[in-house]
Symmetry: C2
Subunit: 148 residues, 2 copies
């Protein structure tokens, strides 16, 4: 599974915006923190904005902001906003229709996979960006304080 890093970076972005407390952050600032390119950040911000999680201020002194309180943004919302492939991939080519197993295997395992996916999502719904930001702040106290 080449899995994407988008989810982790998106949480990173939102956490950054949360600790920024109303001051807009430029994509370049976020890119520096996440150690990636500014365009990658803007691509993610585009998805997050579509999902109603962030908004942007254009022009000088602009940047991105949270569109709603960090406490209202669940990791599940972030996950849904930036991941676009199914959690479980099925057969690349559909199995043999005329086989006893091949013809029914998809329908037979789908319910179990759905339950697993829902369990994952339910757990991701329990944590908010505010929780992550608080944890970052707590951990930061044990590090040498450094400016952004």
């Amino acid at each position: 599974m080449p899995t994407s890093t988008r989810f982790a970076v998106a949480v990173h972005i939102l956490t950054g915006l949360a600790v920024s407390e109303g001051k807009p952050l430029r994509s370049e600032d976020l890119a520096w923190s996440a150690n990636t390119g500014a365009v990658v950040i803007r691509g993610l911000l585009s998805r997050l904005s579509d999902a109603g999680l962030t908004r942007s201020q254009l022009g000088a002194g602009g940047g991105s902001l949270l569109a709603k309180p960090a406490k209202k943004i669940r990791l599940l919302d972030v996950y849904a906003a930036v991941e676009d492939t199914e959690l479980f991939s099925l057969h690349r080519t559909p199995p043999c229709e005329s086989c006893a197993v091949g013809g029914n295997i998809i329908a037979a395992i789908q319910p179990a996979l759905d339950r697993a996916r829902k369990a994952l999502e339910a757990e991701l719904a329990k944590t908010t960006v505010a929780d992550v930001a608080a944890e970052v702040a707590r951990l930061g106290k044990f590090s040498i304080p450094l400016a952004w």
Copy 2:
């Protein structure tokens, strides 16, 4: 987050062996049912065998068999046997160490991701290959009966 198709095909294989009831199935038979190549099947069987889920009989009339009752093989066991990447990928390049957010984000989100992963795994542990085989048999009753 996307998984490879290995998990789905591996469940397919094991379900096939379960309904075969002790009669060895060749990798070519399984490949035909799963609509893929026999070498792909053998690669999966190699992993499943390492995990103690299947065993092989060499020579004429040989093939693969379940190494333990289908009721004892959980989807979680299959998942663990054939998937080798982490469910959640983190940053491709480590984030900025000297940032308040970048330096702690990994540690801050890891617990939440672990909880989500465990929830998924717990759910996958509830279903066995025997359950899937029974479901395939049940669904088969509503289809036109066809030979293997």
